[in-house]
């Protein structure tokens, strides 16, 4: 018998654009999604290790460092999505998705839902 415990998806969002962080927080923070935003790289890395979020959004161009470098410092098992404003990037890191800025809010929303349902299914399996 399936037990559906409604559990919010823990999401880490890292972007040096504070306004974008603010939007992410304001728009997606619901009972389904628990959003934690960061504009400082080291804080985000620390959080990822300590809190082990379910999904990570990373910006590509960060002050002094690139998104794929940051990804390598974070736990491997957490799925990561890269957001980029660049025209073309090359990265060897296995991101689950690469989303170009400016993005469609609905695309992000769909993604969040997708990962949330995957999480739920996993929880069921684990149970």
């Amino acid at each position: 018998m399936a037990i559906t415990t409604h559990q919010p998806l823990q999401v880490l969002f890292l972007d040096d654009e504070k306004e974008l962080c603010e939007f992410f927080q304001d728009y997606f923070e619901t009972s389904d999604f628990k959003i934690s935003t960061f504009s400082q790289v080291h804080e985000a890395v620390a959080f990822s290790k300590k809190r082990n979020p379910d999904l990570i959004f990373l910006d590509y161009r960060l002050p002094g460092v690139l998104g794929d470098q940051v990804a390598r410092e974070m736990p491997d098992h957490i799925p990561k999505i890269l957001l980029t404003g660049e025209i073309a990037i090359t990265t060897s890191y296995p991101f689950e998705q690469i989303i170009e800025k400016p993005f469609e809010v609905s695309d992000i929303e769909r993604l969040l839902r997708h990962y949330q349902s995957r999480l739920s299914k996993q929880k069921v399996r684990d149970a």
């Binding site: 728009y27 161009r61 025209i87 170009e100 809010v105």
Partner: protein
């Protein structure tokens, strides 16, 4: 009897005539100088008083000056010391006629008690004699002078026969290297350059017919086989069949003239003088090469010249010439010759000449065809602009990666927040806040696009003017800001003064962007990296420095920094033209750039001359 008398009278008359003819006064005197007989021709100029003179003492008749020598002569004759006649000459002053010369002679007669005395007025004879002596002296002197002139004249002087041989040569001929003998022995035509023989013979023919030669040129062979060019002035004397000739050696002058003409042709330069008196205006043949239609006639050069100038430049040149005449300052004008699209460029230089009386005399000047030079300068300028543009595009390329990011980020913020606006429609405070975020993001995008547009514009379109340095700094910082942020480099500004600098603002911006890009590339990823733009005032210059937290530039590279194509960046990431172009841009602004390696950090100093700055006072930093 009458016959005898007649004969006697006749004899007397003839004797008297003879005596009168040979002398002025002839006396027969006795031992006491008493007059026995007097013959005279015309005594009016002499001293014999009227009346009977016979038996009178000579001393009563003759001026005292003559008595003493006459008496002495009689005494000597009497003593038998003198057998023949003798003479005395002495000066005598007689009344109104002034000084006169007399000649006195005494002669014995068959009667030992009687003597013949002859007194002649020789004033005229003496005068003639002394005149002829003076004339002779003058003549000798003139001949001597002539000989001296002949020998010392630098010209080659000669007398030649119409038979074609020299008769007399002066010393100047030595310069041909021959002895007089060698020159005199052979016909002079033997010494003439083969090409000049025919014209020389024609000239001699003309001389034979009495014509005079002026400045006829031919070449004479010297002993060493080289040729000298001689310019002849010759006059024939038909009676004596002689030619009197003076030749000037114009070899050097001809060489110089030829060199000058060649140099002028090479430089496409002509010379001219314009005289108030139009007939004295002159121009060299080269002028016609430059301005083919210039000189139909030698009328007013001024106007003929202006007629050939391109209509667009005519008025300016005219006023330039007038200004030059008024001010005495030389004119240096560049203008077109021709009309419509068919023209060439000339550079005209002129200087007014004044008489010592202060009166305007005319103009002297040069005229040079500078079409080729101007075209070369123009293509060089085009090349320069092209290089500038290429370099700018390279900078733009470096910037573009960041630019996309810089535009896409605010666009993300805008599109995302539009979604929120709907949600906040009922919450005025949050709604307003989001509107502000949108506005700010829009400004960010438009600022970056505006900056890029400005920066990428071709320099040729931008005239120089006075531009505020703080604006130029702000614009260039805006261009590199995102790149700096992403590279982790903090940009600091330290403006002690502000001023306007006479420049092409985009080009100065290009220099700053280039220097800042270099700093960002070098510092990327270094912790605590910064770059600082300082604007300070010094005694002669305004100093704009770009300093960063880097540890300077390796000594081995310092000397090559500003060389074109020198780069330490990876292949493909830098053109190596940046700094050399920076230096070129600044040089064209009379400014300079150098690396100040005295401090611990990397620091490029740009020095802008104060004479091109409008200082606007000190700023609070």
């Amino acid at each position: 009897m009458p016959d005898r008398l007649e004969k006697l009278e006749e004899k007397i008359t003839s004797t008297e005539e003879v005596l009168s003819a040979v002398s002025d006064l002839t006396f027969l005197v006795d031992r006491d100088t008493r007059v026995v007989q007097l013959w005279y021709r015309d005594v009016s100029a002499l001293f014999i008083p009227p009346g009977e003179v016979r038996n009178r003492k000579l001393s009563e008749l003759v001026p005292a000056d003559l008595i003493e020598p006459l008496q002495r002569a009689i005494d000597e004759l009497d003593r038998g010391q003198l057998a023949e006649a003798f003479e005395y000459q002495d000066l005598f002053t007689a009344g109104d006629d002034g000084a006169r010369w007399f000649e006195c002679r005494a002669m014995p007669t068959p009667n030992p008690d009687q003597f013949v005395l002859v007194i002649s007025d020789v004033t005229e004879r003496r005068r003639l004699r002394s005149e002829s002596k003076a004339l002779r002296f003058k003549l000798d002197r003139a001949q001597e002078e002539l000989a001296t002139f002949f020998e010392t004249a630098p010209e080659l002087l000669c007398i030649a026969g119409t038979d074609g041989r020299f008769k007399k040569l002066n010393r100047a001929w030595e310069r041909l290297g021959y002895s007089d003998g060698e020159l005199l022995q052979r016909p002079f035509i033997d010494f003439v350059h083969p090409d000049d023989v025919e014209p020389t013979l024609r000239e001699i023919e003309a001389l034979r017919s009495g014509r005079t030669t002026i400045q006829f040129k031919n070449r004479y062979r010297t002993k060493d086989g080289s040729y000298r060019t001689l310019s002849w002035n010759t006059t024939p004397d038909l009676e004596s069949q002689l030619l009197y000739a003076a030749a000037r050696d114009v070899t050097e002058m001809e060489d110089m003239e030829q060199q000058l003409a060649e140099a002028k042709a090479l430089a496409k330069m002509g010379t001219w003088t314009f005289h108030q008196d139009f007939r004295r205006s002159k121009w060299c043949s080269q002028m016609r090469e430059i301005i083919p239609d210039l000189f139909g006639s030698r009328d007013n050069l001024n106007e003929r010249l202006l007629l050939n100038i391109h209509p667009h430049d005519r008025r300016e040149l005219k006023s330039g010439l007038e200004r030059s005449i008024r001010s005495g300052q030389p004119l240096n004008a560049t203008c077109r010759v021709g009309c419509g699209n068919e023209f060439s460029w000339i550079e005209l230089r002129a200087k007014a000449k004044w008489r010592s009386t202060g009166e305007f005399e005319g103009l002297v000047g040069t005229c040079q065809d500078v079409t080729e030079r101007l075209q070369a300068e123009q293509s060089l300028q085009e090349e320069r602009l092209k290089t500038l543009q290429v370099s700018k595009l390279a900078s733009l390329g470096e910037l573009s990666a960041g630019v996309a990011h810089e535009i896409n980020n605010p666009l993300s913020i805008i599109s995302a927040n539009l979604k929120l606006l709907e949600r906040y429609r009922e919450q005025p405070e949050r709604f307003q806040k989001k509107i502000e975020v949108l506005e700010k993001s829009c400004r960010r995008v438009s600022r970056i696009v505006r900056g890029l547009k400005r920066f990428s514009r071709s320099s040729a379109a931008d005239a120089r003017g006075f531009h505020r340095l703080s604006n130029i700094i702000a614009e260039s910082v805006a261009l590199v800001e995102s790149r700096a942020t992403r590279g982790g480099v903090e940009i600091r500004l330290n403006q002690e003064v502000d001023c306007k600098f006479f420049c092409n603002e985009i080009e100065i911006e290009q220099v700053l962007v280039n220097l800042m890009n270099n700093s960002i590339d070098a510092l990327r990823g270094q912790p605590g990296a910064w770059l600082e733009l300082c604007l300070t005032e010094q005694s002669e210059e305004v100093l704009l420095s770009v300093k960063d937290s880097g540890a300077g530039i390796s000594k081995e590279f310092v000397n090559r920094l500003f060389e074109p194509f020198f780069t330490t960046k990876e292949v493909g990431s830098g053109t190596g033209l940046g700094l050399s172009i920076c230096r070129g841009i600044l040089k064209s602004h009379h400014a300079s750039i150098r690396l100040n390696d005295s401090g611990p950090n990397t620091c490029f100093e740009i020095r802008l001359p104060k004479r091109l700055c409008e200082i606007e006072g000190t700023l609070e930093s």
